[in-house]
Symmetry: C4
Subunit: 163 residues, 4 copies
């Protein structure tokens, strides 16, 4: 299987997940003259919308940077990529959770931890894609294998919890 199909499907999930974020922006229904205040009070929704949209965008760029170096896609890689996309597609949920509980003023640390945890899991999944590609010999001919292997050692060192 070549990479173009996988990229098209992944791009679809990235674009949809990013655009669905707008559904979490709720219209406040208030009395005359109170709309501006109600909209300003919703600032956490706008902030988390922007952060999540840009995060998905940056991860989309990184995903392409990896996929451009991949020669072919095998079944395990398809599966790791699916798990990664499952986390990307889930982003609207922790985003809305964080926005709502920043607004409510309680349990916001838990919401932020869940938001951060999803982002961390997504980062871990994209590292797993890269590690599988490098170790499984799925890299393009032109890619420097030594450099690729060294990048894995750096990832390992960075993610050591005892550092």
């Amino acid at each position: 299987m070549n990479t173009s199909r996988t990229e098209a499907f992944s791009d679809g999930v990235f674009a949809i997940a990013a655009t669905l974020l707008v559904l979490e922006l709720k219209i406040p229904h208030v009395e005359a003259g109170e709309l501006l205040g109600a909209l300003l009070e919703q600032w956490p929704s706008y902030a988390t919308y922007a952060v999540s949209f840009l995060t998905i965008g940056i991860i989309w760029v990184n995903h392409h940077t990896i996929m451009d170096r991949v020669r072919r896609v095998d079944r395990p890689l398809l599966f790791i990529n699916l798990v990664f996309l499952m986390l990307v597609a889930a982003i609207p949920f922790p985003t809305a959770l964080l926005a709502d509980y920043l607004n409510e003023g309680h349990d916001d640390r838990l919401a932020a931890a869940i938001y951060g945890g999803t982002m961390w899991a997504m980062g871990l999944a994209i590292c797993a894609i890269w590690a599988y590609v490098v170790r499984g010999g799925l890299l393009h001919e032109g890619v420097d294998r030594d450099l690729a292997r060294r990048s894995l050692r750096i990832l390992q060192w960075v993610s050591q919890p005892t550092r």
Copy 2:
């Protein structure tokens, strides 16, 4: 009609159906300190999200495996494929149904039967696509026709209810 259009449209439906699943994850609105419990109580939503997302992903891989062996798409195949996509696009509904009634603690067997039934119908539809492609002579030159015909006989034997 060549296959690339059909694949692009199908890929769109797969990606959107998978990403829409996130809309079934609801934000619980609770008192201070009760968020973690409320989120953990929703475990059936996360479980069904993951199962449905991965199922759509695996069916997407199978759909491509078939389409890679198809030379051209005729009108009946387009129609069978549409019915198949109609079932794929419907998956968020039985997924939410199963999650909600696992949570409620009653009628969960009925919800599970409907969920399983949708998956079974989707499997049947993808078998119908394959059977039509093999019998209708729409296979690529390079594909082993004997093997393809034998695969149909296995499908028939597997789906016999009296076994």
Copy 3:
């Protein structure tokens, strides 16, 4: 402007409009043992889901049949196509309206008239695309112009209200 961009954007709108239809299927929240009845009572939702999904699918096929005969896309054609897509993207609204009022048991004729009217307007828009392509000289070299012009006269005759 060549047709591939226009087709990709149109395909996106078709696939999303078809897949969004599932959001109109609502989960009934009932007492133990009443789920099956509640689900069966919703039959208009399933029927309109299937009809709308297949209609969008068939119109997608027709749209491609036209676009395959188009040499290049100019600004007026882009605009007519946008108006057409605006109607395609609106289909989930009359679909949900018809399902809801078939269920309620009143005002269902009005809902059916609005549903039919949307489909009719969509049909009119795709005829307008074809008429513009034929008259504006945007057809591919290989297409039989006489046949194309005659097809327009048939469309005109079919849509005469006094017939």
Copy 4:
């Protein structure tokens, strides 16, 4: 990075944002015989749906007109494009806000100002894309650089607030 990926992702966001607009069209639930009146009362929803859909469509055309003149995409351009897409994807929110408050009959000027402000920010972002492409030397060989630079001066002159 070549432009085709960026265009595919952007097209996805355009198509999804345009199609999500339909979710803001709400089904009125009324007594027998009152449906027509209730639907007609919602005219601001249909008007803003049409305006926003066509606006997204026209901006999509302009985005392609620019991208067809771009040779390659670098990291800053990707980021400016992401910010632009973030505004495009947000359009369903000010659209629903304007429709709701035109309907309510109060705070409609504020809603219109927010709607206009989003459109203005989107226009500014697409000008920023063009300005970056022209100044950053990312134009295709065949594009007239003098004309491109003059277009920037016109944009600057048009957007001067003291005019």
